[in-house]
Structures are given as C-alpha cells and as structure tokens.
Symmetry: C2
C-alpha cells in the first residue's frame, strides 16, 4: 500500500535542504510505514528509514510494517525513549541537517534533540509529508469509500428515530423508551456505525437541534428533539484508519416552514454550487468563493461563519484547507469536504456536507445519503 | 471553584523566575479559568489574567469564566489568532521574562512567539500548573466521585452480558441478539455510561478477552467472549470534565482454574498491597515497589510490564506518575490509580485498578465495583 511514499518524502526533504527528516506526527508515520501505534518516531534519511517505538508495540510494529508493503526496508527499533533517541542519532550521517516537524514536535522535544544532536543543524519543516498525503491512492480511496458507506448505512438505520420524534412517539423499548434527546440520537448513530464495522467515530458526533442548530460547534446534550426542529447531524466513520465526514440537516415532522425553509434552500443551493466548482486545477479558495457567493446573495454572508471545507484522510482535518483565500490547487485524487452553513439565532441553522474525491473531470461524492430534508 | 489557583500559579512562576506565564495546555486553562473550549491561550502576569479564544467561544468563554468564580478578574479577548497574539503581547510589561509551557507548545508556536516578543526573554517551563493540579479540592473530588459512581453503575448494568456469554447465551434481542464480541461489550458499557450522564468515555474503553487479555494495550475487536476467558475491562466516565479510571478482570463462566487462577490471586494481592501503601508523605515510587514486590515474589516480575499508576483529573493521565523511581510525594487530596497487572501469553492477563484519593491516614477508593472475579 505504501509504495513510493518514502521516495516522495525524500524528494520533498531534499527540496527543503534537509538531509534527514525526523517524523513525529503519528498520522504521517502511519502513512509512511503502516505503523498505527500511539507512540513512535521515524527517521527518513537518503538511504534508510528507522522506525522506533516501545515494548508495547514490538509485535504490532513488525507486522504492520511488513503488511504495508513499503518499498524500502524499514528498520524497526524497539526500546525505551532513551534507546529510541540513541538509535535515531546513530542512524544520522556526520553533520547531516535534520528536519523536525515543527507543528507537531514540542518545544521540550526540540530542545532535547538540539542537545542530543549538537553536531547537527536542526531545521523546522512544515507540511512536507502532509502535502504528499492530500492525493489519495486507490487503496486509500477504497478505505474512505468504505468508511463513508458505513456512515450512510448507519444514518439510514437510525433516521427513523427523528421521524418518530416528529410524530411525538417515544423511542422503541429496545432502546430504553422515552423521548429522544440529542445525546441519545448521537449514541444510536455511533452504535450503528460501530455495528457496521467503524473502528471509532471519525470525530465526536454532532447532533444539534432547534436553537442549538444555530451554533456551528454545539455538542450533543439533553435537549429533546421536537416537531419543527432543524437537526444538524455531522458525523463520520473510521475504516482501517481512514475517516469520512458528512453533515445532513433534517426538518423534523415534515417540510420546514417560514424563514427556515429559505435557509434550507439557500444552503442546499450553495452546497450544490460548491460541489460544482470542484475540479482538478481549481484553487481551493475558489470553491469557498462559489459557496459564499450564493449565501451572500441571499443576504446571509455574515452567517456563514466558517470555511467551506477541509481535506480528510487519516486525520479528520488535513490538507488542503478549503476556505477564503486557500491557495492549494485541487488535484485528481484529492479528497475534501464541501460544507457550507447558515446559522440564524432564533430561527435555526442548516449545514450540508459531503466528502468528495476530485476526478479527472470534476468530483465524485464518497458520502451519498439523501439530501431530502423532511423526516 | 477556582479560588486561589491563579495566585498559586503566580507563586510557582515567580519561583521559576518567570514574570509572565503563557498557558497553552487546554486542561491547565480550564483548571485556572473554567473555560473548556478547544482553542485558546491564557496569559498570567503578576497583576492580570488574559484569556483569549476565537469567535466560536464568545458566549461560552464569558459564561464559564463567570461561573468558575476565579478570584481575580479574568479579561476575555475574542478574535482571530493574530488578534489573540497581539492582545497577549500588549498585556506584557516591558522586557518581562515570559514562560512558555514547553511540553505543550509546538516548536512552530515557540518560534512565532520568539519573533513577536523579540524584546522579551522566552523561558521553557515544565509542570508549573500540572503540579498544582495534583491535589484536588472538594469541588473536584465531588466531580470525580460522580464520574466514578457512573462507571460503577454502568458496569453493574452490563456485567450480566459477560455472565450470559459464560452460559453460551446470545445477547438480548433489544441489543441485536447474537454472540457477544469485545466490541459489543465495550459499546454496551459506553452506552450505559452515556445514559447515566457521562459526557464521554474517559478514554477509549478497553475490553480484552482470552488471548487478548495478555496484551496490556489491546483495543476491543471482533473476538467473541467465551467461557473460560479472562476479560480485562479498563474504562472510565467523565463528569463536568473530570475523569475516572477503573479496571476489573472477570473470569467468564465461573471461577478461574489452573495458572490463571494463580494470576488472579497474585494481582488482587498486589493491588491490595499497593493500595495499603498509599498515604500522605509517601513517595509515589514506594507504591509501585509495594505492588511489584508481590508480583516478583510470585515469579512474574517481568510480566508486570507497566507502571503501577498515574494521577487522574481533568486528564486521564496526569501528575503524579506512580512508577519505578517516581519521586513525587503523595499529599492529602492527591488522586491516583493503583493498577498492577500480570500478562502471560498463552494463559491470559489480569489487571485490577482503582482510582484513590489520598486521605489524612491512608486512602479512599473512588471506584467501588466488586472485585469478585467470577461471572
């Protein structure tokens, strides 16, 4: 699965005048070697790749590196933190410049390395590996499609609970009976994803109903879901480390009315327009602009309080950013979200999001749940 | 709730020759101000406390700071990252030495600050706030007791599933029927905690059965729980930000037999001995030693592959460490775990853990679920 990745990162390191790159971001380590443990380091030099971790991961590291089909030999060193640092220092050529991932390494660790590697120059690097990760290969896309399909199916299994709340019905006895709160709906969705093979929620599932729907970052609480509510459901599954991300907003108890109906229309239109702007060679900021123009024309430009989207993969938020002024160029195989929203205090909020892969002539959604809003 | 905390941290900063401390660890910010958002910074000078965050948290930051009853005025500044940095720079006295939390600030951010604060000396600090957090006040203990009680009750609700698996019964229809996997048991436990008011699992719940029980860091998988299995269940609840941590190991289908029976006996004995060693004034390393002596005497010293415990609070792992050579002194009000384990490949593993608060004359467990192992 990981063929060619080390070579691509070596080229980027070389372009950054770095002879050896010390990778400490765990998602970057996983992408380069297959190793998914919670602790470890990876040194990539022109000739070698040395992965270190502790005794908990002795078997796992060896197995994962083998099954990842990395094109080079990845040497695995298991030991305490001191032994790991010594192995990395020993693998460096004399006086080699060493890149540290400045966004993930702590100042403490940088100081430790500066002391341990006093005859080497330490250079801060940014996004060397992350940039290579934005274009997904077929194995990665297969995992992301699986994660997205699990999320679609899980939502299909539980959306009836919202319809039930719209009719004033209690939740089924098998789920404990009683009224449906945001928290219970989130739990039902998380359980359905787990039953369908998701390793963990891609992030903390958001279920925001009624007045809470107007808060883009609400966490699910004890509020009961009522007829007439807008309910924002923003969630994803994880399959073999890869994540999906989708938002649907439902109108509970039938079609929305009044100003809320217009918010639904505008956001759906903005999302469709944003998706239509996605294609290879397009600047990511243009996708944001396309969404924002629709919402601004409707008079709610100020109520679209966040960026339009972000890359997704091993991390739920990764490169490229899809926001105002984003300069990243979309390429075939880039995976990113398009998720405009409008949030009106006293009325409610609507956000609609798909995860898309950029194709030769546009894009293809990985998330496919219906956008019919009435339940 | 937060009375006196800023003053205590000011004293520590002063002892470290730091005129102003920039707090970037989010748990430290929460402990000092009550603010629980996912982004923000806090500058503590001799006279002022300036909390910054972004627009998402405008209402929340103001409300939480007010209800935390911090003894000083905490000024709240809301804005973009640049505006936040400027507000912090403006709050510094001329030439003041600024402490940065070196374990939590990234090298990138340290470099940004070094540039922005070129007329100030930046000093790396470690554990200034964390050390103050080890002794819990009554409000914190009440929250932790509540989290631990939720976890106890949740386990009581679902432990019958293990007994059912021991009799070869499927799980009840209301839960979907079929056999009981590690993953399903973990889901049932997480759901029970959520229903009982836990905000989120204190960490990813561990359910490790049969051969998996011999791996201290196993993640719950599709393995089915069978009669004769040892099942390690390591989990906790979260209440108002505070976490609990408890491990029980069950013998499914009745009392354990053969070597596994002896492992259970030895670990229970070690845990009891470790708990007995906890008292104010005791060096944390001594508690580890007490556990380890029992296990070593049984011939399994090498199979106790981790430290005996750790502090718990807003973070699931915090100071003090309770491991070989730990030099922290336990004080009345310190909360920490005691969790020895023995892991024998081919036989199984057993870990028993309680979260304790140090009292005037010993300790009191916050976690109280029975240690009867047969289900």
């Amino acid at each position: 699965m990981a063929t060619g990745r080390l070579e691509r990162v070596r080229r980027r390191a070389s372009d950054a005048s770095v002879a050896a790159l010390l990778v400490t971001n765990l998602s970057n380590i996983r992408w380069l070697t297959g190793f998914s443990g919670s602790a470890g380091m990876l040194l990539v030099t022109g000739e070698r790749a040395v992965l270190t971790s502790d005794g908990r991961y002795r078997t796992q590291a060896a197995e994962q590196v083998r099954s990842a089909e990395v094109d080079d030999v990845v040497e695995v060193v298991i030991g305490g933190v001191v032994a790991q640092r010594e192995a990395i220092a020993a693998a460096l050529g004399p006086g080699q410049t060493v890149g540290l991932e400045a966004d993930s390494v702590s100042w403490s660790d940088q100081r430790r390395w500066a002391e341990a590697l006093e005859h080497h120059e330490l250079v801060p690097t940014q996004a060397l590996v992350e940039t290579e990760r934005t274009v997904k290969d077929t194995g990665e896309l297969a995992r992301m499609e699986r994660a997205a399909a699990i999320a679609d199916e899980a939502l299909a299994r539980v959306v009836g609970l919202l319809a039930g709340a719209g009719r004033g019905e209690p939740v089924p006895d098998g789920m404990g009976g009683g009224p449906l709160s945001e928290r219970r709906f989130a739990a039902a969705l998380d359980n359905a994803m787990r039953e369908l093979g998701s390793e963990e929620p891609a992030f903390e599932t958001i279920v925001a109903s009624g007045e809470n729907s107007a808060k883009p970052h609400a966490r699910p609480g004890d509020r009961l879901i009522m007829p007439g509510d807008a309910v924002v459901v923003d969630f994803g599954a994880t399959f073999d480390g890869y994540r999906s991300d989708m938002t649907r907003t439902f109108s509970v108890g039938g079609a929305p009315t009044g100003e809320l109906a217009r918010v639904f229309d505008v956001v759906l239109d903005a999302q469709r327009t944003g998706v239509g702007a996605v294609a290879p060679g397009v600047v990511a900021g243009r996708v944001d602009e396309a969404c924002r123009e629709v919402i601004t024309a409707a008079g709610w430009g100020e109520r679209f309080e966040h960026g339009t989207g972000h890359g997704v993969g091993l991390d739920i938020h990764e490169a490229p950013s899809v926001g105002p002024g984003s300069t990243a160029i979309l390429e075939e195989g880039t995976v990113a979200t398009v998720e405009p929203g409008v949030y009106l205090a006293g009325v409610g909020g609507v956000r609609i999001e798909d995860t898309l892969v950029v194709t030769a002539d546009g894009s293809r959604p990985l998330t496919n749940f219906t956008k019919d809003v009435a339940v």
